[in-house]
Structures are given as structure tokens and as C-alpha cells.
């Protein structure tokens, strides 16, 4: 049986885990191609127009797998952390895709529910039961597959902490590779905040990563810091955030500004992203307090290349001027 994983949304977070788990269960795994014009326009056509651009792209990725696979893997990731949630859109994703499945002739969906809101160890059993029910895999085999997948995922996260960017390990597009880097002393440390499924999707964010590096940025991304450190750093608010991925983002800016790790921050958020629209207020406040320049970059399916380039050029130039000025004073 061939199972398709749409290369969108949580793919960018859990790819090694899902891929290896499914492969270990004896399935052939196929991922959709990198986001391209066709995929995004498919998605935009089908999706409700108020949704954020990565979710629209997700529809397109599902469509790109039509006819190539026997089933689509669209897990319902409810919660990955105790007492927290992911974004509501991840909670409803399988139902949203199912609502258009007949009309678009999508393959049948595999939608395991992953929820560890109540109990931290739930995750494991939910996946084991999923493997047993859907594929008739024995419990020991399922446990073994899970263990292999977990190891792969933690190796992946470890190498991210050691400074590799997800793009070095994920199959990146030709365009999205950095071709040239400024000499080390000419680089500015720019924190790139935002969801991995926006930042590393070269089509959605117009190759932002490569462009910034070519402009002389030494990129700092949230994935470079250990998850627990980020979560700890995000606790300075009167009420804890209940969206795990936004909490990571909050933690990242707190960690960076608190330890003077960045010269400036670019905050990429998708238009109409619910959680980010609120967290934005707290992040901007934090940057203001620590006098770290911050640029919020809102993206959607209509974002043009020229506008983006102008803005990031202006931002990096400004950082450079600030740096030379500070050095001159010193």
C-alpha cells in the first residue's frame, strides 16, 4: 500500500517521524512535490478564502497526490504537549479535507488522532492502536516502528539544535539553496521567527531563507534552541499560552532578546493566522522593551516578490548601519 504525506504544515516539524513510522509498518511512503504555482492555485481554488495560506497549500498538496497513492496521511494533531493545543485548524484538518474529498476524487484518508492534552504518554498508544487497526500490524511490530521513528525524530531535532537548518536536511528546492554568503564579520544575526511550514516553504515565502543569507544574514531560527528551553522561556506571561507552536515562537524571542543572541528579528506570519494575530502583540512588545528591531512580514497567496525583497533589503541595510554606527561609537 502506498501512503501519501502532503508536504505542508506539520510535515516540516515531524517529517522523519511520520515517514519512518509508516515505512517501518511496511508501507510505501510518497510525499507530494515542493509547493509550486500549480499546487498553490489548486489549493486557493478549493479552500475557503479566509483560511491562512499554508492551509490552502495543504489542499493543493493533497490534490497533487491524487492517483499516485492509495491513501492520504492526514493526522489530527490535537495536542503535542500536556494542557495545550495545536492550532484549531490542525484539529479540524481531516474533516476539512474530507468535506472536499469526493468532489476532488482524493484517495481515502488515514486520520489517526494524536492527543496528549490529558496524558503525556497517550501519543504512543494512539499511534500503536492506529497501526493495529488500520494495517493489522502486531503490537510488538508497532512498538518497534514507533521506537525507530522516535529515534529518527530526536536525531533530526538534535542536529537542528547543533546548527543545521531544516532546509539542509529536508529536500529543498534548487532555488531555496543559498548560493553565496557574506564573510563572517560582515554578517548580521537575524532571528527568523515564524512557523516552519511558512519559513521553509520556499514557494510560500519567496525563498526568504536563501535571500536573507545572500544579503549577509547569519540566521537564527527557533529550531536551533532546545524545545524545553523555549517552553521555559515563554512562561513570563500572566497566563500560559495554550498553543504549543506559538509558545515556541514566544519562547524563542524571549530567549534571543534575553541572551542578546540577535541583532534584529523578522517575524513571518501568514495573513489571517489566528494564534499569531494575538501573539504578535506580545512579541512586538518584547522587542520594543529590549530595543531589538523587529519587522513583521505578513504573507499570503498574493504576496509579490518585489515587495518582499524591498522590505528585507531595507531591514538588513538598517541593521548594518546600526552595527557600523555602534562600532564607530565604540
Amino acid at each position: 500500500m502506498r501512503v501519501g504525506i502532503p508536504r505542508s504544515l506539520l510535515y516540516y516539524k515531524y517529517l522523519p517521524f511520520w515517514k519512518i513510522f509508516l515505512a517501518e509498518l511496511g508501507l510505501e511512503v510518497e510525499t507530494s512535490p515542493l509547493t509550486n504555482k500549480q499546487i498553490l492555485s489548486w489549493g486557493v481554488e478549493v479552500a475557503e478564502n479566509e483560511l491562512c495560506v499554508p492551509v490552502k497549500a495543504f489542499y493543493g498538496h493533497c490534490m497533487a497526490l491524487r492517483g499516485k497513492v492509495d491513501a492520504l496521511f492526514v493526522p489530527r494533531v490535537v495536542s503535542v504537549e500536556e494542557r495545550e493545543y495545536t492550532c484549531p485548524k490542525f484539529l479540524g484538518l481531516p474533516d476539512m479535507v474530507a468535506a472536499v474529498a469526493d468532489q476532488l476524487e482524493l484517495p481515502p484518508l488515514l486520520t489517526p488522532k494524536l492527543n496528549q492534552r490529558e496524558k503525556p504518554s497517550e501519543f504512543k498508544w494512539q499511534l500503536i492502536n492506529f497501526a493495529r487497526e488500520e494495517f493489522g500490524v502486531g503490537i510488538m511490530d508497532a512498538v518497534a516502528a514507533l521506537e525507530t521513528a522516535r529515534l529518527a525524530q530526536s536525531r533530526y531535532q538534535e542536529s537542528l539544535v547543533n546548527g543545521h537548518k531544516p532546509l539542509d536536511m529536508l529536500p529543498a528546492s534548487r532555488l531555496n539553496r543559498t548560493r553565496w554568503k557574506a564573510p563572517k564579520d560582515k554578517r548580521k544575526r537575524i532571528g527568523l521567527l515564524g512557523h516552519p511550514y511558512n519559513i521553509y516553504d520556499g514557494y510560500i515565502t519567496q525563498n526568504l531563507v536563501a535571500r536573507l543569507e545572500e544579503m549577509g544574514a547569519e540566521l537564527v531560527v527557533p529550531e536551533m534552541t532546545d524545545h524545553h528551553v523555549l517552553m521555559q522561556a515563554a512562561t513570563d506571561v500572566p497566563k500560559q499560552l495554550y498553543w504549543t507552536y506559538e509558545k515556541e515562537i514566544m519562547g524563542a524571542i524571549n530567549h534571543w532578546t534575553g541572551n542578546n543572541l540577535v541583532d534584529g528579528v523578522i517575524y513571518v506570519l501568514a495573513f489571517a493566522c489566528g494564534p499569531d494575530s494575538l501573539v504578535q502583540v506580545l512579541i512586538e512588545h518584547r522587542a520594543r522593551m529590549h530595543k531589538v528591531p523587529l519587522m513583521s512580514l505578513t504573507i499570503d497567496e498574493h504576496s509579490g516578490e518585489a515587495g518582499l525583497v524591498t522590505r528585507i533589503e531595507a531591514f538588513t541595510d538598517m541593521l548594518m548601519r546600526k552595527k557600523t554606527k555602534a562600532e564607530a561609537v565604540a
Partner: protein
């Protein structure tokens, strides 16, 4: 200490009563107006949802009136509403206001913390007294919900346009002074009688439309341009899925709406099987429920970008196809204008009228739907 709390439909009547019982000085924010929204939209993040912007406007106006303690309801997600408070506090502090901020977390999330919140407002308050107070205020809130609910149905049949709205104002004033349980009960009866006394033409054929969607948009007439009144004046009989006390109540029986949450969730399950926060699942469930009960059409209201409702909106086409019911989705933000809304609603009502005509022609003159909708309500209420 001068306490204030944002507006949400007729919630303020209940708060009036509650704070009076607790002996707390309550600064009612001025009624929400375009100015309120302008203030809110100016200081809130661009694509935060509309209720947040209105809340911020309410808070600023209340602070200008001298409020020094602000209360905001909380929640545990995944909808944005549960985190409004923290963001609103940040926005207001960045504007330079000085105040005490209290997040009132739901009863289920911590009973002791819930009690402590009230105790901090009214020192020396015993648990017993809090319980009694809440119960009394809540029953008053229910009575208000009842008269509003009745008015939505009576308005469709009124002979003189505007009579129901006038009767509603009168009925409110009957309820406002009620204090003891007996008075509240008496007031509830009397106020309902006032609404029922409106001159009605019960032989008139009316359309039955359900209003579903995000709670704030349904509850706050300012935010939806008084849509219910607009529809009522077109002669449309309305039911809606969210009511103030149903929304606040910790139990799940939806007394005012009449259909317990569990039933609504069961109806939604084939389309949306998991809670997505807010009213996403309830919206789908209510559409199915209303379609099964023979409604002519559904109007879904949501603030632009509302996550749970957007999930529902993505699923609605399928529900619409399978249950053969037209659904009009209306998203609101600070740019929405009344004229555009009225045009769309009129067109939708025209469509429903035409549709009913064709249905009648197909199924013969006296169909079951015809009989059901001609005498839809008053016996059942």
C-alpha cells in the same frame, strides 16, 4: 474600586444585577458604537478577530469613565477568545492606562480560583453567598434570554412594523427591577406576556431561518447591524443557536436553545467529529438539526478570520449538499457596511422565497413543509 466588563449583547443586564448583589461599583461601558469600534480597531492587531477590537474599545471607554478594575472572561482554548484578556491588558497598558486586570477563568478550570476571583471583588464573600448570588443573577439572565428569543419569533408575524421592538424595550424595563426569586419569576411571566400581546397576523406565511455561528456575533446586535431585526421586519421567523446564558452555563443542556450540546455534537459528527474550539462543531450540528426540522435556510455569522468558524465554513458546502439547505455565510470586520449586508440578506431571502415556491410546485399544493411552516411556532413554544 470601580469594576468594568465589556459588552456582549444583553449580558450587561445580568452584570448589573450581579454587581448590585455583590455590592460592587460597576461602571457600565457606554453602549457600543462606531466610535467604540474605531478606537478598538486602531489599537488592536490587524487581523485579530472583531470581538477583540470591540472589547478593547469598550475597555478604553470604560477607563475614560473612571473604571479602575477590568474583568475579562478567560478560557482554555483552542479558540483565541481564551487569550483575549492577556492581549487586551497588554494593549491597554501600552496605551498608558493604569488599572487592575482580572481574568475570570471558567468554573470548570478551577473552582477555588473562580471563587477567589469574586472574593477579591467583594471581600468577605462566602461561597454560599456567591452561589446564591450567581444563581439569582443567572435566573434573571435566563429571563432576558427568554424574552429575546420570543421576540425573534413574534416579530415575523407583527402587524405593525416595530411593535415587537417597542414591546421588547418595555419588557426589559419590567425585568430590570426584579430582585428576589419570586419577583424574577413574576417579571419573566409579565415580560413574556408583553411580547405575546403584540398584534400578530398568524395566518401569514413566514420563512423559517436559523442563525448560527460565532457567539459574539450572534449575541451582540451592534456587531451584526441588528441582523435579526432586519430579518424580522422582512417577515422571517428566526431561531438562533447561541444564547447568553447557554453560553455562560457550565452545564451542557442549552436550556434556551432547546437542544442539548450532546445532541448537537452527535449531529455534527459525520462532518466534524472533533471539537475545534469556539462554536465550530455546534455550528455544523445546528445546521444539520435545523435542516432536519424543516428550516428554509441558514445564516452563519462569523468575525473575519475566526478559526473555528472557518473550519465550519470549509465543511458547510458538504452539509448543504447532503441536507439540501441553503446557507449564507457572512463574515464581519470593522470594514463591513450595513448596506452591503442588507443587500445580501435581501437576496438570500428572495432566494428562499423562490425556492419554497418551486418546492411547493414540485410536491403539490399542501405539502408537509407548508403546513409546518405556516403554523410553525406558537403552539410549540
Amino acid at each position: 474600586m470601580k469594576v468594568s466588563c465589556p459588552h456582549m449583547g444583553h449580558l450587561h443586564w445580568m452584570l448589573d444585577d450581579l454587581f448590585e448583589r455583590l455590592g460592587v461599583d460597576y461602571v457600565k461601558p457606554p453602549p457600543t458604537t462606531t466610535k467604540t469600534l474605531t478606537i478598538g480597531a486602531k489599537h488592536s492587531p490587524e487581523f485579530a478577530c472583531l470581538p477583540l477590537k470591540i472589547n478593547v474599545g469598550n475597555f478604553v471607554e470604560a477607563l475614560e469613565l473612571g473604571a479602575d478594575t477590568l474583568i475579562m472572561a478567560g478560557g482554555h482554548g483552542p479558540c483565541r477568545f481564551g487569550y483575549y484578556g492577556i492581549v487586551e491588558e497588554r494593549i491597554l497598558r501600552d496605551l498608558g492606562y493604569d488599572f487592575k486586570f482580572i481574568m475570570l477563568e471558567p468554573f470548570d478550570d478551577g473552582k477555588w480560583a473562580f471563587y477567589k476571583t469574586f472574593e477579591s471583588l467583594s471581600p468577605g464573600l462566602s461561597i454560599r453567598k456567591l452561589w446564591k448570588t450567581l444563581k439569582a443573577s443567572f435566573s434573571k439572565g435566563r429571563a432576558f434570554d427568554e424574552i429575546y428569543k420570543r421576540s425573534l419569533q413574534v416579530r415575523a408575524y407583527e402587524v405593525n412594523r416595530g411593535d415587537t421592538t417597542r414591546a421588547l424595550k418595555e419588557a426589559e424595563q419590567v425585568l430590570v427591577p426584579a430582585y428576589t426569586p419570586e419577583e424574577i419569576e413574576e417579571g419573566a411571566r409579565e415580560s413574556l406576556a408583553i411580547i405575546d400581546a403584540v398584534d400578530q397576523d398568524l395566518d401569514r406565511e413566514v420563512l423559517k431561518v436559523g442563525i448560527v455561528g460565532e457567539f459574539f456575533l450572534l449575541l451582540e446586535p451592534f456587531s451584526n447591524f441588528g441582523l435579526e431585526e432586519i430579518l424580522g421586519h422582512m417577515g422571517v421567523y428566526i431561531e438562533r443557536s447561541v444564547w447568553v446564558t447557554d453560553w455562560i452555563a457550565p452545564n451542557r443542556d442549552n436550556k434556551i436553545y432547546g437542544f442539548p450540546k450532546q445532541l448537537v455534537e452527535e449531529k455534527a459528527a459525520p462532518y466534524l467529529s472533533h471539537n475545534v474550539g469556539g462554536e465550530g462543531r455546534e455550528t455544523i450540528g445546528s445546521i444539520v438539526l435545523m435542516a432536519e426540522r424543516g428550516f428554509d435556510g441558514i445564516i452563519q455569522l462569523l468575525p473575519f478570520g475566526c478559526m473555528p468558524e472557518n473550519i465550519a465554513t470549509s465543511i458547510i458546502p458538504k452539509v448543504q449538499r447532503e441536507h439540501d439547505i441553503p446557507v449564507l455565510t457572512l463574515a464581519f470586520d470593522e470594514q463591513t457596511g450595513r448596506a452591503g449586508l442588507v443587500t445580501r440578506v435581501e437576496a438570500f431571502v428572495d432566494l428562499l422565497v423562490a425556492r419554497r415556491g418551486s418546492k411547493l410546485a414540485l410536491a403539490g399544493a399542501a405539502t408537509a413543509t407548508d403546513a409546518a411552516t405556516k403554523q410553525p411556532s406558537l403552539s410549540k413554544l
